[in-house]
Amino acid sequence: MTWVSFAQAVLLSLTVAGLYAAIAAGLTLTVGVTRIINFAHGEFVMLGAFLTYWLFTRFGLSPWIGMLISGLVIGLFSAVVYRSFLARVLKHDEHNQLLATLGLSILLLNIAIILWSPDPRVMQAPQLLPALELSGVTIPGNNLVVAAVGGLLFLFLQFVMRHTRYGTQMRFASDDAELAQHCGINVDRVFELSFVIGGFAAGVSGGLVALLLYVHPAVGLDLVIRAFAIITLGGLGNIPGALIGAAILALAEGLTSTFVPNGGSFGFGIAFLLLLFVLLVRPNGLFGRQVQ
């Protein structure tokens, strides 16, 4: 193991962390506000990936614009899903909420398989940024794009939550929905907004998926399971926690697959062994608050 190969593995892992963070940040925002685990978040990402892919292959639209359009479309789609379906299960028991989003995830995944076949596609996008070369370490341009967009998305979500009126309302509704309602906040609208923002993040992440990975119907499922581990690592609802969780997971995965023989086949295992150890010591994740 040389210094260069180690640095290469670390830097590449950190760019993958940008993708993980983009997906996990949207998910943790929705979970934090509504206390619903949205299993369909992965399918939102998958739809975003397909949209960016088509915009590029059919209309030659640059993935920069493609991922923005995907974000907006998936954000709108989330609003439709919330109004038509999820709003009705908010009052149900926890297991019914869980099953509701699981059902939605299974439905979207299989519709995608029926309509578009399970075959993986490659976008063959041009490198959007020039590759970065630093004393023997090369980072491909699209990995830079992923890291940059992931970082921007994180800053955007953090800004919305911390420095806007809607962010304050969302945090209030998440702390105590009933009290927020009495104070004149439209909690239903706030929950919907959190789904729309989560959906926007998922759509943009879908664009990143199209740049970095294969586009196929099951791509979201793989990523959302990792995102669950990440947001639990960081503490549910904690956006900076999701960023750190994403970095930890991406590094752990990248380093094992590079330096442990046969380490690439461990898959989710790494994520979850990590998670188990953290939850043993800190039942609310690394940066989580006590929740009831």
Binding site: L109, N110, I114, G269, F272
Partner: protein, 319 residues
């Protein structure tokens, strides 16, 4: 709640219909019934655990341990002991997992349990000497590979699981279980041994899921980690129980039948890839229309009927 005679009738009805399928000798129906029985057993195991408020997505861990345990041990110490030890192994794993997740709250618990099945998969891949790694193992097929004999045996296991489920719905355990689900602090201060009861539920649930896994391994004679530790085996019992009706014994069995029928219909129309679309659609429709499941919905309907039929019996009902 059903009385003893009602429960016996349920067991007999279930046993008779499964045995009738076994006797019919129709290959298609027997295979379908085998699938139904396995998902019903797995769903009962999930339901027992959920009655203490532990909403798990980790049944695949026990399903897989049961499949691997019985499959590896049967050639070494014989089928009977192999299965017994394999299922005890599930109990041990369940107790460990139960202890680890004891402090976790709601969503944290659910995600942690989801992680067990996936972590088990890695454990298997990392220990190829014992478990065959990613190439899997070939456990001996049970009952001389005769489908109708297999169905009879698995029906027996299903009835046993149903009886266990009813024991936990009986007077001895029911109040403690539901009190822990609704208010753990109140349960503890009322003298319910919360930790012990939760762990008991986990151990029993793990063993029953292990039986389902052992049956699966014994039926198909081929087990690979991706097959038995997939999250599908964790989602299936959840879907089946909620469709059929939670906190009942009949619910998971009924749910397994309904889901299988719908699956076959979808397979006919959609074909091999993507037939699971029906799972998603059914789940969503049921959650909106029948949140209490088939059994809950039927009970409500039945109550309305009897109330309309006998409007002047308030004194009797109150006494």
């Amino acid at each position: 709640m059903m009385g003893l005679s009602g429960r016996l009738l349920t067991y007999i009805a279930v046993a008779v219909s499964f045995v009738a399928v076994a006797m019919s000798g129709n290959g298609f129906f027997i295979q379908a019934a085998l699938g139904i029985a396995i998902s019903a057993i797995l769903a009962l195991s999930w339901d027992i655990l959920s009655r203490t408020g532990q909403v798990s997505l980790g049944q695949s861990a026990f399903f897989g341990i049961g499949a691997y345990g019985s499959g590896i041990l049967t050639p070494v110490i014989g089928a009977v002991f192999g299965w017994i030890v394999g299922i005890l192994l599930c109990a041990v794993a369940a107790i460990l997992i139960g202890l680890v997740t004891l402090r976790l709250r709601r969503l944290y618990f659910t995600i942690a349990t989801l992680s067990f099945g996936l972590s088990m998969q890695v454990l298997i891949v990392m220990t190829p000497r014992i478990t065959g790694g990613s190439t899997g193992i070939m456990p001996p097929v049970i009952m001389g590979a005769s489908p109708s004999a297999q169905l009879m045996l698995i029906t027996g296991f299903l009835i046993v699981s149903a009886i266990v489920s009813d024991i936990f719905l009986g007077d001895r355990f029911r109040p403690a279980f539901f009190m822990i689900r609704n208010n753990p602090a109140l349960a503890a201060s009322s003298g319910v041994p919360v930790v012990k009861t939760k762990i008991l539920a986990f151990a029993v649930s793990g063993m029953i899921a292990g039986i389902a896994g052992a049956c699966y391994a014994g039926l198909y004679g081929y087990v690979i980690p991706e097959d038995v530790f997939t999250p599908n085996w964790s989602v299936l019992p959840l879907a089946v129980s909620i469709l059929g009706g939670m906190d009942t014994t009949l619910g998971p069995i009924l749910g397994a039948v309904v889901l299988r029928v719908l699956e076959e219909v979808a397979r006919h129309f959609v074909g091999g890839a993507g037939y699971q679309v029906v799972y998603g659609a059914v789940i969503i429709v049921f959650i909106i229309i029948l949140p209490k499941g088939l059994v809950g919905g039927l009970t409500q309907l039945f109550r309305k009927r009897t109330r309309k039929a006998a409007p002047v019996a308030p004194a009797e009902a109150a006494s």
